[in-house]
Amino acid sequence: MTRLTKSLLFLVFFAAVAIGFLNRAAIFRYLSGDGSGAATRVAGTSVFLPVDDDAAGFARAVEPGAIRFPDDLGPHDDYQTEWWYYTGNLATAQGRRFGFQLTFFRRALSPPDADGESLQNGGGSKATRPSNWRTRQIYLAHFAVSDIDGGRFLHAESFSRGAVGLAGAAADPYAVWLEGWHARSISPGRVALHADSDDAAIDLVLEETLPPVLHGDQGLSPKGPEPGNASYYYSIVRQKTSGTVTAGGRQYAVTGLSWKDHEYSTSALSTGTVGWDWFSLQFDDGTALMFFQIRREDGTLENASSGTFISADGTTRHLEKADWRLEVLEEWKSPESGAVYPVKWRMNIAAIDLDITGGAMMADQEMNVSTTYWEGAAAFTGFRAGQPVTAEGYVEMTGYAETMEGRF
């Protein structure tokens, strides 16, 4: 090959390289097998103006004795926040223990309008027929199975809007659902629960044994010193439960006890509060106990912290913050969130002559979803009225990984 040819070849090569350099990305895409030059995924995020999170315009819980059944089993869209909380402690005939949580949250994105209309007028024209998707109610649901003996905590979260049948709640017949997950009345006093995720599922029937328990002042449960900073709160406790739990690909026939909370409010934690600890225990003597303590930044407890003791016949006794002493015996640090949670306590409530010790059936029951909190099966033993008792139940602890101030 002569020099001229060589230099020409070089020139061509150089030109090609130069063009390639200027158009590197395209060459790369071409080499990666896509001549159209659009192999990379179209990606981006969005930015919105911050929403003025004003609770004005929502209804507030102010009136003792306002709860009516069955109407109040259903949703209360005028209140900003609402939840239906199912927890339960189950076991197979062989004694393999499970815990489950299935919670439906409802949140109203904006207060109802004075005329109750304007949201329904998309497209700006009054003549426009509203879309069935148009709603200000959104639902989210949390589902968890604690496979105590398998050492597995399987949890999932789901969102949807309260429209076109994707999610919603109804009073009579009672139902609350989010897509495939639901709690649905199948006959008076009996509710079917269903939820499934990639690695867990529950199919349970819950049977009422006691009438609903109204917490606080006839169902009005204050959350802070401000008037209206309260919720309507009732529970249906000691529900006889049977069905199946699926975990890790295996299905187990189980029985046990479940607890339902239903709470709706337009309230948020007061300034200076960081979160709460909530206990629900069902004793082997037929009684049950619920109390929550709202923690403040300075380590003290909010005065509104309170509880209810339910005796075996369903009569209740209100508990004040001063009534209990709770001593943390053990803590656990979540490897995922880094939060440190108490997992073992000594509980002393003189008012009902209770002295028990116990804690999480397993430490890692941290819900790592859009909100990080701990919600898990727990067991206690000790004495009540001088008699030995054991209790199983659920503990919820929020505000350890992030402050809950201003949320819920």
Binding site: T2, R3, L4, T5, L8, L11, V12, A15, A16, I19, G20, N23, A26, I27, Y30, G35, S36, G37, A38, T40, R41, V42, A43, G44, T45, S46, V47, F48, L49, P50, V51, L109, S118, L119, N121, G122, G123, G124, T128, R129, P130, S131, N132, W133, R134, T135, R136, I138, F159, S160, R161, V164, G165, L166, E179, G180, D196, S197, D198, S370
Partner: protein, 866 residues
């Protein structure tokens, strides 16, 4: 010159070519024009190819991007009937199949009033279903609560790309007006999309997101979804989905629809590419011509060099290298020019796609590296390939014969029969390629090129024959000079015939394409006149000129129906339906009467023409358009067409195949009752009115317009305006063809200019002798013009039949296969006269410069070599 070194040059390869190179350079400096023209020819040829490539690629990429912007990671999608699918299906899927990522989408094109007049894709999504599909609204991210709240609670909230918002001076909180189907929709910008990279920015610039409720209300699609996106890699999951589907819903891979759209435009793009290749072919002729000239002119020099010991191989290298350098320069210039031209071409291509196929919003031109590399290689390659024959020639000939002037001519004359035979063979194979059964467009283009090239090869023989008979006539007309001119052309046939062939090819392309466009336009014009017999037409505005999909408001219909002076009214509903066996959606028009009032023409008809429309109205079957018939290679008579109705698959017998030039992808016509029985859609898209005798269409249109003022924005047209508007769209569609044709003409012109100029300049010694023996300057001018004029005329004459053949192929093969349209060939003498004039003008113009130069020549210097 060679430093007195008598040793064989091959012994010193380092320095051997240096003097040759210097020599070549010196020559370029002395004869710059010839080389400039050569470079220009290559440049324009390459530019055309590159610009078409750029336009095609940009349109393709815009389509790709707009698809990707909303397709996300979906693997499958559920598509419904003409009005989408029922939203309850989504709820059913969501609540009964756990773990199935599914997302509902409601979308259509809108135009933002203060966002540039381009169509934007309004995409309504459910933010809770989005995360697995599109990452624009990640749940769990900071600020997502704001996103959810704004999207769900703002009844008219839209999210647009930050760059588009900035470009139009918009910011969150601002109000904006969108228009859709003639309706104005107030909207408020509630958020901005932040694309991750530049590509995403381009993709998202043409997209507006909003909540699905907002989209349904804005687009009037309450209760319906455009589609449901799915991610389902697991066949078992897909089976479960399929088992739940109502009959009118189809499950298809996510890419299917995009592929169908791509295939629709494939023929159009291939046509453009072929046109650009045609230009390159003309360009190659010209390169061959120029290079072979530069070799022929230097044969004395090469003879001397060979005598001095320069090897044939070295000469070969020199010639090739020279061509490569020039070709490369031309190609580089062509790349720049091509990218520049591409920007204009993109607009035309986009317009055509919008008119004929679907809404496309091209944000920017995209230049693929492969386009540039291709242009570079083709440009330089064409130059090298064209110079190969003369280079081989120079290498093979002995030093002695190189010096002989007559050698080349006599040899090429000997080659004439072979050349002619090769031409004949090419024409034959081209014909066979065109006759190939099936609908292969590439084969058709192959045949076209073979035919054209074959005819070019026949040019020398025809020219020679012509020039031998011509002296008799030319002599009578122009005297001795006439005879000299025609004999001169015949004598140096090896050079003249190439120039004539190049000009012939270029001009025949002009003739062919002109006839094709002219015939097409004539056909469409006749069709418009025959088909649109009603007097006044009413329809909502549409983003895609070829189609209307938006329905008329019921109150508009009511008002319009009360128009006075109406004899008969015909209403139509335009929808898209899935044709499973065709594998794509087909446009369907449900009608309750014939707008042509019986004037329509049919390719096929079953039964009697008289009761055809009665049978259509009675629901005996459907009619299909000719383009659908041809595109799908249907048998004659067509077998019943399978369509997806609301109650499942159903076959519809074909009553007739009608001519239709409105849709390139084909349409189906169906009677009103049959349509409503199978598709749950009672809306109306357009209305046509036949007026009573003596009622003026223009004034009736004006009255109707006035009646509808303040309602839905609709278009009221009299038939005259409708036809004019349709022809306008037609002309717009062919702007790109005309533009490419113009470029091809320029290439041809430059080619001929350079070829003829070289030819004349090469003859300076011969003319010097003539001048010395008493020829006047005026006579010499005349001789020059006679020669170039004769050549131009020959090319022009030959181009007429070749152009006619080309037009015939374009009309009866290429267009029929590409678009499925039958056209009647309309031959206007204007096309031929124009072509002949172009050839002659180019040839005469090419004579000016040589004539001027030769007129100034120093006779004694010119003949000194003798």
């Amino acid at each position: 010159m060679i430093d007195g070194n008598i040793k064989p040059l091959t012994d010193a390869p380092q320095t051997a070519l240096a003097p040759l190179r210097r020599m070549a350079w010196r020559r370029m400096r002395h004869r710059p024009l010839q080389y400039v023209l050569l470079i220009c020819g290559v440049a324009i040829g390459v530019a055309m190819m590159v610009s078409v490539d750029v336009a095609n690629h940009s349109a393709g990429r815009a389509f790709e991007l707009s698809t990707r912007a909303v397709a996300g990671r979906a693997t499958h999608r559920l598509m419904g009937g003409p009005s989408g699918l029922d939203e309850t299906l989504y709820t059913a899927l969501r609540t009964s199949i756990a773990g199935l990522p599914a997302a509902p989408v409601v979308e259509d094109y809108v135009v933002g009033r203060d966002m540039g007049e381009t169509p934007l894709r309004l995409v309504g999504v459910d933010i809770f279903a989005e995360p697995p599909f599109r990452g624009y609204f990640p749940l769990g991210a900071d600020g997502i609560a704001d996103a959810i709240t704004h999207l769900l609670t703002h009844p008219a909230g839209i999210v647009m790309s930050r760059s588009r918002a900035i470009a139009h001076g918009l910011k969150p909180g601002d109000a904006a007006i969108l228009t859709h189907g003639g309706r104005e929709i107030p909207a408020v910008i509630i958020g901005l999309l932040e694309p991750e990279d530049d590509l995403s920015r381009q993709a998202l610039d043409g997209t507006i997101f909003c909540d699905i409720a907002t989209a349904q209300e804005m687009l009037g699609m309450q209760g319906r979804l455009s589609r449901i996106d799915l991610i389902a890699e697991n066949p078992a999951l897909l089976d479960r989905v399929a088992s739940m589907l109502p009959p009118d819903v189809t499950l298809e891979p996510a890419a299917a629809r995009g592929n169908a759209l791509r295939q629709m435009t494939a023929a159009f793009k291939l046509n453009l590419t072929a046109l650009s290749l045609l230009a390159l072919m003309v360009g190659m002729f010209l390169i061959y011509n120029s290079v072979s000239f530069s070799v022929v002119q230097r044969r004395d020099l090469f003879g001397i060099l060979r005598c001095l010991g320069v090897t044939g191989g070295q000469l070969f290298t020199l010639i090739l290298a020279e061509a490569a350098v020039l070709g490369l320069m031309g190609a580089l210039l062509g790349l720049g020019l091509g990218v520049f031209l591409g920007r204009f071409l993109v607009v035309l291509v986009t317009q055509t796609i919008n008119d004929l196929y679907f809404v496309l919003n091209v944000q920017s031109t995209a230049v693929a590296t492969i386009t540039l590399v291709k242009g570079l290689i083709v440009g330089a390659g064409a130059a090298v390939a064209a110079s190969l024959p003369p280079a081989v020639e120079a290498m093979r000939t002995t030093p002695r014969s190189n010096l002989a002037r007559s050698f080349l001519e006599s040899r090429s004359r000997k080659a004439l029969p072979r050349l002619t035979a090769a031409g004949g063979l090419l024409i034959l194979s081209g014909g066979l390629l065109l006759k190939l059964p099936g609908n292969y467009l590439t084969a058709a283009f192959g045949g076209l090129f073979a035919l054209l090239f074959g005819m070019a090869l026949l040019t020398p023989a025809v020219t020679s024959a012509l020039m031998r008979t011509l002296p008799l006539i030319a002599g009578r007309l122009f005297g001795i000079l006439g005879r000299m001119a025609s004999r001169g052309i015949d004598r140096s046939l090896s050079r003249t015939s190439v120039a004539i062939a190049a000009l012939m090819v270029a001009v025949s392309v002009i003739v062919g394409v002109s006839i094709m466009i002219g015939s097409f336009r004539g056909t469409v014009s006749h069709w418009l006149d025959a088909t649109f017999q009603a007097d006044v037409y009413l329809s909502p505005p549409s983003l895609s000129a070829g189609r209307v999909q938006d329905a008329l408001d019921p109150e508009v219909i009511e008002l319009a129906a009360g128009l006075a002076g109406v004899k008969k009214m015909v209403t139509a509903r335009h929808v898209s339906v899935m044709a499973p066996e065709i594998g794509r959606v087909v446009e369907m028009i449900s009608v309750d009467g014939d707008v042509s009032g019986g004037g329509r023409r049919y390719l096929f008809m079953s039964g009697d023409k008289k009761d055809l429309w009665d049978r259509l109205a009675a629901g005996h079957g459907i009619m299909i358009s000719e383009s659908l018939f041809h595109r799908e290679n249907m048998a004659m008579p067509p077998s019943p067409v399978l369509l997806t109705t609301e109650s499942g698959f159903r076959r519809f017998p074909v009553l007739a195949v009608y001519y239709d030039y409105a849709s390139e992808t084909g349409t189906i016509m169906i009677g009103r009752d049959l349509f409503r029985a199978n598709w749950n859609d009672d809306r109306i898209t357009s209305m046509a009115f036949f007026l009573k005798e003596g009622t003026n269409a223009e004034s009736a249109a004006a009255v109707l317009q006035e009646r509808l003022r303040g309602r839905q924005n609709v278009i009221v047209q009299s038939s005259r305006f409708l036809r004019a508007a349709a022809l306008e769209i037609f002309d717009r569609t062919f702007t790109i063809t005309a533009a490419l044709q113009l470029l091809a003409t320029i290439v041809a012109f430059i080619g001929v200019l350079s070829a003829l100029m070289s030819l004349q300049l090469e003859r300076s010694r011969e003319l010097g002798v003539l001048r010395a023996t008493g020829m006047s300057v005026g006579q010499m001018w005349r001789l020059t013009f006679l020669e170039t004029g004769l050549m131009g005329a020959t090319a022009g004459l030959l181009a007429m039949p070749v152009g006619w053949v080309l037009a015939w192929i374009l009309i009866h093969v290429i267009n029929l296969r590409s678009f499925g349209w039958t056209m009647e060939m309309i031959l206007s003498p204007g096309f031929f006269i124009q072509a002949f004039a172009v050839a002659l003008a180019a040839a005469l113009l090419a004579g000016i410069y040589p004539a001027v130069r030769l007129g100034k020549m120093d006779i004694s210097r010119a003949i000194r070599q003798e």
